[in-house]
Amino acid sequence: MQAFIIRRLLAVIPTLLFTSVIVFASIRLIPGDVVDLMLAQNDISTGTDRAVIEAALGLDKPIYEQYFIWVANALQGDFGYSLWQNTPVAEQLAVTLPITFELGFLALIVALTVAIPIGIYSAMKQDTPGDYITRSFSLLMLAIPSFWLGTLVMVFPSVWWRWAPPLQYTPFFEDPLGNLAHMLVPAVLLGLSLSAVTMRMTRTMMLEVLRQDYIRTARAKGLHENLIIFRHALRNCLIPVVTLIGLQAPLLIGGAVILEQIFVVPGMGLMLLEAVFQRDYPVVTGVFLIVGVSILLINLMVDLTYGFLDPKVRH
């Protein structure tokens, strides 16, 4: 098992290198660079100032040199300074990252607590009204973008009942309840959209597993249907479901960015959006790198979960 983890961690390195190149290059490929924006905002339009600003920001060096400097610093945990605020990117990330992770984590919990039990229920009641209702609901959740649903949740309750979801962010450790009250609505919306696919997958896999020979063996032993589901079928059924959750991790973070914007959650999403508009290279690359690393880590965790679920992987 240890060797397995080490091998998996080593495999992360080339992926991460590749990610860093793409992240570094892509933000610079967007038309309109940061110096243009600064010049426009400050209404300075002469060529000499441009060179001065570039030099001050370190953008005058050849691009590959900039990349190596950035990588060397990032390896030491230094993501550079924001080009606009002149604050360390690492410090900003330390504030915003946990907020986004909290949102993503809550959404994942919502998704799993909705998707897995309903998926199992739907499989057990195959082709009954209950199955049709839950399947239609999941299709609906799949079809409706979470930002649209988010906007509806913002608008309609306030029109109908003069109630709006709380939009005041309070840090979790100051006021856990207030924090959860604020996070709940975006987390549920994000979780529901994630749960749609997971639920259908759970249902399909459960039906597939229930047709297997070993389930017939379990029935021939005289086990009650509930024990067959939870002891004999569930773990087999979850193996592909876990893969799916791993694949959806990027969606989770992407969705969080949008919902943070709607529900005014001061997470990485808001930070990223501003930084992209301002072409704040170190902030954008810093955020993307962290997102990349987290997705790689999530997939590593998925692989480790296989080990727990599937003895063939363990041995």
């Binding site: 297997q212 070993y214 063996t217 021939a220 032993k221 004999h232 087999n236 003895p311 063939k312």
Partner: protein
Amino acid sequence: MSPLLAISDLSVTFVTERGQVQALDGVSLSLNAGETLAVVGESGSGKSVTALSILGLLGDSGSVSNGSIEFDGEDLTKVSVQRLREIRGNQIAFIFQEPMSSLNPVLTIGTQVAEPIWLHHKKSWSEAFEQAGELLQRVAIPDAVKRLEDYPHQFSGGMRQRVMIAMALACQPKLIIADEPTTALDVTVQAQILSLLKNLTKEANSSLILITHDLGVVARYADKVAVMYGGRVVETAYATELYKNPQHPYTEGLMASIPKLDGDPGSTLYTIEGQPPDLSNLPSGCSFNPRCPHAQDKCTMTKPTLAEVAPNHKRACFGYER
């Protein structure tokens, strides 16, 4: 003495996309305590369906449409699901054809063998595990106790079938049903597994229903034989009697198609002409008539019923001159 198991006039229908298919048509079988009954027939003859219907394991698409399955004084076609669960694994145990897929890949062997003991004998898991270790020893798995913690993929096919046998024996059932237990195994382990099964059922004084298409197996292990064709029993007799004096042309054909040690090495093996019948489109009259070398006009019109031709020897055939 009343038999342990008496199936009478059992009919089973399956609902398929092509409509209803009658998989069993009036099957009658009986088995006394301690006896071994071999059910022989080609694929699709209804032997597995007969076995599955005893434990109510036909699934959602199959159902018993007629007849009764009398086991130890109870009609299993009429008892509640709850009662059926008490019988499954406890009084009647099943060994399936596919040892590779019949064990749960994510549960340890110990858990799977101990489970019926935990369930039916209401033992604690640690006691059940202890018994599971003894069971694995009885089916001659080396290092039995150590291997309780292992998973199915760490066992070979033959070893897995030993595990299945251990699992079936766990609650000392009165009846064990083995559905082609060696078909998926190497020829070299087939004989070992069958001898083991036979000896252990004898020790436990359990009855055994052995489903097979191998008449060689029947001769060595069975007391009684039922030959099935097209969802019906066409001949039943004691094994020795059946070999000496087969009465149904289908049984004769099966016998003739066994290679013989003293036969001419160059000779072609006898085969029964034609294909096994399509259950959704059975020929009228005796379903064997299109393949029967002795078929008469009568055979295409009326279904022959199972009737005694000698003591304890029944066949479903109008008879013919040999």
